[in-house]
């Protein structure tokens, strides 16, 4: 046995059907919530809310359907990698686009 796989044989217990169905119900409710809230006039809050709901749906899918939180911790960390790096890309690029017009420096 290798060092990395030493802990267990890696098989997780089988998730009950009801759990999957509950998640599906939750996902569809969240979908209804997004669609509904999009029709309300909330300004930029609309976008924030939409994205928050998207993240909620994502965590449901990742943790229950994809079992990202139930296996090894490594899997969980890897599952976040793409999102974190995408955040780096977007945030640093925005640091340029959102501060461009402000011209004179304060000193």
């Amino acid at each position: 046995m290798s060092a990395a796989a030493a802990k267990s044989d890696g098989t997780r217990p089988v998730t009950p059907v009801s759990r999957y169905l509950w998640v599906l119900a939750a996902l569809l409710t969240l979908l209804a919530l997004t669609a509904g809230s999009a029709l309300l006039k909330l300004g930029s809050l609309n976008t924030v809310l939409n994205l928050a709901i998207s993240f909620a749906k994502t965590s449901l899918v990742m943790s229950i359907f994809m079992h990202s939180t139930q296996g090894r911790r490594l899997t969980f960390m890897v599952s976040l990698l793409g999102f974190i790096w995408l955040a780096i890309l977007i945030c640093f690029a925005l640091s340029d686009f959102t501060t461009r017009a402000v011209i004179p420096a304060p000193w």
Binding site: A101, I103, P104, A105, W107
Partner: protein, 314 residues
Amino acid sequence: MSDFTWLLTQASSLAPEVDALFWFMVVLCGTVALGVICAIVYFSIRYRRGSDADRSGEPAQSLPVELTWTLIPGVLFTGVFIWSLFLFVKMHTPPADSQTIYIVAKQWMWKAQHPGGQREINTLHVPLGVPIRLTMTSQDVIHSFYVPAFRVKQDVLPGRYTQLWFMATKLGHYELFCAEYCGLDHSRMGGQIVVLRPSAFAQWLEGHAGPATLAAQGAALYRAHGCSGCHGANASIHAPDLNGLYGRPVHLANGTQVIADDRYIRDSILLPDQHVVAGYQALMPSFAGQLSEEDLLAIIAYLKARSESSHEHD
């Protein structure tokens, strides 16, 4: 001018300051490099195989040592960064009393327009000791305006204005290069900056005066394209008054506030719905494709002139 000197000429007010940082870095990095190289050579000789140097008692790690050479470079780097920060901000901030000259780049030439309507190609005449601000744009691809003797460089982009400033401190002719790769004749897209005494510069301006000043050309375009029809005093359409607009903060319909600089005015003309002024309808049509980059610069110069005269009346 094109003699080779080991020290590059310093012909602008920024040049000595940039050079100070540059040589400081050369000395700092040189010292560190020399130190490391000396250490390597010394160890290599002292501890070469077969030498009788004492080799006992050396640990393979040491936290204090590691922290020393983590923190010392860290502190030095921070210092250099702060120095460079102040200089960089200065290089980015034209003094308030700068004179503006407009530059339009295209494959593969530089076109300059002075406020008085004088135009030149691949040369730029500037007065000694006067801060000059260049407002630049490109008709096609990205170019870069580079004057080594002034230590200034700025990319020139299509669809956007970028700016750069310098104050020449030495008479003479200086090389102008295009520093961003722009296609076939990138290496020939050069020219000269001619620094003249202010009196000689004034003379030069007079000698090269065009039929009309840039602002006057702008005024003509302003009428010809029907801007005055909406923005004029007795227009039937509800459009903002453009007197005094240049350099003033503008409230936009989306709640933000911007300074009406060259770029803002350019965008207002080409992409009018990008920032709609608070309290107005997005009625203005886009003039993209109808006005060349030079026309736009002329209109901006005209609006700027109007603002300057209206500020005087305040």
